[in-house]
């Protein structure tokens, strides 16, 4: 809030560690979020490589079934709950107040609470590896009644996901209040940067969907520990009920995982095309459309249960393609007749556009209900989610890191290393996930710890595994770029990219109070207006 007292520079000297542990500064919390989620990205990545190693050849004994089930479950849980969702909170925390010209988030202490629920949740989830029977092994979807029958690792998983749910919910409320109440003078809703808009819609989704997840988790916990029978038909419960409540959260959660990524590339593409985002308002309405429709499609994960109204959910799922298509065209419209340059942020943003398109197209196969009967729960679906969440979200994460690194840390990541990383990742990504389409069509179910080679699945699996290691390799140029950047002094000007939004008006990195002076805001591109002395004709 504006009434927060700003500490005098150098007024209080505290040990650095104490400073970071007790901070309520949105920038520091944002950085903590980024570090912690990147840590879990690395952990989840190692787990993915274990999975791919096991599947590289038929009838492999590298991992036994018990270990495999834990590892693929924890790979997905780490990547979704401990990496993608919180890293958007990291970007959001750092950027939203800066982009709307605020001093901090609306509730700085709640913001700190949001963050500090996150590392313990990760530790609790992974502590499953230390208990009898091991970590959670029912997949990240924890289908019941299977989840009822598993060991203590499952309880730890439930507790961890519930804590993360609390973190997201209060974080969402914080983002909403910040954006509604703390915009700088002149920053109307329809002048907010597009990244803020995607965070806004994401926050609404979190606020509405996460409590449903909380109730689902509570019921599952009661089923497991206190003799409940919500999801166990042998005690009068209903096995399909879990899927309904779980997906009622988890489908909107897919948009929670992708919308901020769309926001990030919608910041990057205009800057490196030297044009405004084509159809700024259309883009906002499309984002709202995706968010709204996102609540009416949960049962498309359940067509093969035979327990849902298939035509309705098939149609609504198809409809989501409409606002998504609008966004795709708006991105192309932004590039059209621009002056394009290809620094690393732009490369990753273009990687997003080209790969997310495939993630949309292969989604259409699952929306066509009878086709879904064949591909559901096969590797085709694994390909689909990775084209959306890796080809989409992860490319956006790296685009965002290259783009805002100068602002956050005052140093620029090496362009050449960025390009090397991009190409390794782009090629590795397609090698890993494209063959999965073919495996799925050929009938390879997902989540199997091993396969025999009667269908010649081995070759495609081997290609996929090599691709996965190429992705692993692509992290080294990134790490090198980060280390090299930190070995140099801070040298970045306020606005190294000639960008559009307010965060580039202040120093790199910004002072504790964010802005010494906020420029006048007449459009959604205040810095463009400042550079060119124009008022947008918007």
């Amino acid at each position: 809030m504006a009434s927060i007292a700003i500490p005098k520079q150098g007024g209080y000297s505290r040990p650095l560690i104490l400073e970071w542990i007790t901070t309520v500064d949105h920038k520091k919390l944002g950085i903590l979020y980024l570090y912690t989620s990147m840590f879990f990205f690395a952990v989840g990545g190692v787990l993915a490589l274990l999975v791919r190693t096991q599947l590289a050849v038929a009838d492999n004994h590298f991992l036994d079934n018990h270990a495999y089930n834990q590892i693929f479950t924890m790979h997905a849980s780490a990547m979704l709950f401990l990496f993608i969702i919180p890293i958007w909170a990291g970007f959001g925390n750092y950027l939203v107040p800066l982009q709307i010209g605020a001093l901090d988030m609306a509730f700085p202490r709640i913001n700190a609470l949001s963050y500090w629920l996150f590392p313990p949740a990760g530790i609790i989830m992974f502590s499953g590896f230390l208990v009898k029977d091991g970590a959670a092994q029912a997949g990240w979807t924890a289908y019941s009644p299977l989840a009822k029958t598993l060991g203590t690792g499952m309880d730890l998983w439930i507790i961890a996901v519930a804590m993360l749910g609390v973190s997201s919910t209060i974080g969402a409320a914080n983002f909403l209040v910040t954006m509604f109440r703390m915009r700088a003078p002149g920053m109307t809703m329809f002048r907010m940067p597009i990244f803020c808009w995607t965070m806004l819609v994401t926050s609404v989704l979190s606020l509405l969907a996460t409590p449903v997840l909380a109730s689902a988790l509570t019921m599952l916990f009661i089923d497991r520990n206190f003799g409940g029978n919500f999801f166990d038909p042998n005690g009068g419960g209903n096995a399909v009920l879990w899927q309904n409540v779980f997906w009622f959260y988890s489908h909107p959660a897919v948009y929670i995982m992708i919308l901020p990524g769309m926001g990030i590339i919608s910041e990057i593409l205009p800057v490196f095309s030297r044009k405004p985002l084509f159809g700024y308002k259309a883009f906002i309405f499309a984002t709202m459309g995706i968010g709204g429709l996102g609540f009416s499609v949960w049962a498309h994960h359940m067509f093969t249960t035979g327990a849902v109204l298939k035509p309705w959910f098939g149609f609504m799922t198809g409809l989501i393609g409409v606002p998504t298509g609008v966004k795709m065209f708006n991105w192309l419209g932004t590039l059209w007749r621009g002056q394009l340059t290809f620094e690393p942020p732009m490369l990753f943003a273009l990687g997003f556009v080209s790969m997310f398109l495939i993630g949309g197209i292969n989604g259409a196969f699952a929306a066509a209900v009878p086709v879904d009967f064949a591909i559901h729960d096969t590797y085709f679906v694994v390909a689909h989610i990775h084209y959306v969440l890796f080809g989409g979200s992860v490319f956006a994460v790296f685009g965002g890191l290259y783009y805002w690194f100068p602002k956050i840390w005052g140093r620029r990541l090496n362009d050449r290393l960025g390009q090397i990383q991009f190409w390794l990742m782009f090629i590795g990504f397609n090698l890993t996930f494209f063959p999965m389409h073919l495996l799925g069509l050929d009938g390879m179910p997902r989540r199997i710890a091993t396969y025999n080679d009667f269908n010649n699945w081995q070759l495609l699996n081997m290609i996929s595994t090599s691709g996965a290691f190429l992705i692993g390799l692509s992290m080294f140029p990134f790490a090198a770029a980060v280390i090299m950047a930190f070995m140099k002094p801070k040298d970045q000007p306020n606005d190294p990219w000639e960008a559009n939004t307010l965060e580039w008006a202040t120093t790199s990195p910004p002072p504790v109070h964010n802005f010494d002076e906020i420029p006048e805001i007449h459009s959604e591109r205040p810095l463009f207006d400042l550079r060119h002395g124009t008022h947008s004709n918007h």
Binding site: P145, N234, G279, L438, R447
Partner: protein
């Protein structure tokens, strides 16, 4: 700021990018041939048609959009420091490109709806019922020797029938089960509608036969069933498709389609064997 020094790598980047996407398009098209198998049932052939339709739509969208993207990258890379025209959007264009996906969605949905109705034909008379029970971690397939799915003389708890299985009497019933090493084989006749009734007493499984292009979940507390008419003789592979615990990967089975004559011979042999087994104790 990036300047002319960026030109060469930029051009190379564009070339690499284009080659990569073209390669993907080529792989995608080629995979239509090796992708989804055609399926061996009437229902599967219907669904495969829808798959090919979706694939064609997808391929067109892919080529057009990635083509437009590559065109932009080649045509509009930075050539001067002059600012390009600052176009903020166009309502007409937005209207058009909202309309196009709507048309595609309606086309795809309509075709899916028709296929869905054909696949899930209700109340079809069936010539054979196979009762499938999924359990951790195998399958049991139960047949009735004298009651080939006609449902007559079903056991009735109210009448005081002790036997509560799927057949008219216990003597009619025989089952096939297997192990991970010795996969069970479920046998069905050619050209006749066969009903599969799916049941589980532990967790959720999913009955999946690749060449049916179909799977249906096997859910405790819920009786799912589906009907197919197989049109090809042969042995095909089946597997559990819903994670069901430790040895989920090993829940494999075979499905064999025989001509009516071969099927009757197999049935007679199995019935005799099961009667002999019943007499032993």
């Amino acid at each position: 700021m990036p300047n002319n020094g960026m030109r060469r790598p930029a051009r190379r980047a564009i070339v690499l990018f284009s080659v990569g996407l073209l390669a993907l398009a080529a792989i995608g098209t080629a995979s239509a041939a090796v992708g989804q198998p055609g399926g061996i049932t009437d229902e599967a052939r219907d669904m495969h048609g829808l798959y090919l339709f979706t694939l064609a739509l997808g391929a067109i969208v892919f080529v057009l959009v990635e083509g437009a993207l590559i065109y932009c990258l080649v045509r509009f890379r930075k050539k001067s420091d002059s600012l390009p025209a600052q176009i903020h959007g166009s309502n007409i264009v937005e209207f058009i490109w909202t309309g196009i996906p709507v048309i595609i969605v309606i086309a795809l949905f309509s075709y899916s709806f028709v296929v869905l109705r054909n696949v899930e034909h209700k109340e079809q008379p069936v010539d054979l019922t196979v009762n499938v029970t999924g359990f951790q971690f195998q399958w049991q397939f139960t047949y009735c020797a004298n009651d080939l799915g006609k449902g007559a003389n079903a056991p009735d708890k109210a009448r005081g029938d002790k036997y509560q299985g799927p057949c008219a009497t216990e003597a009619d019933e025989f089952s096939i089960t297997g192990t991970a090493k010795d996969e069970p084989t479920v046998v069905i006749p050619l050209d006749e509608p066969v009903e599969f009734r799916l049941k589980s007493n532990d967790v959720i499984h999913s009955f999946y036969v690749r060449d049916f292009l179909y799977k249906l979940d096997v859910i405790p507390g819920r009786d799912n069933k589906f009907t197919v008419t197989a049109r090809e003789v042969g042995t095909f592979h089946g597997q559990c498709a819903e994670l069901c615990g430790l040895n989920h990967a090993l829940m494999r089975f075979q499905i064999e389609v025989k001509t009516r004559a071969d099927f009757d011979a197999w049935m007679a042999e199995k019935t005799a064997a099961s009667k002999a087994a019943a007499r032993v104790p």
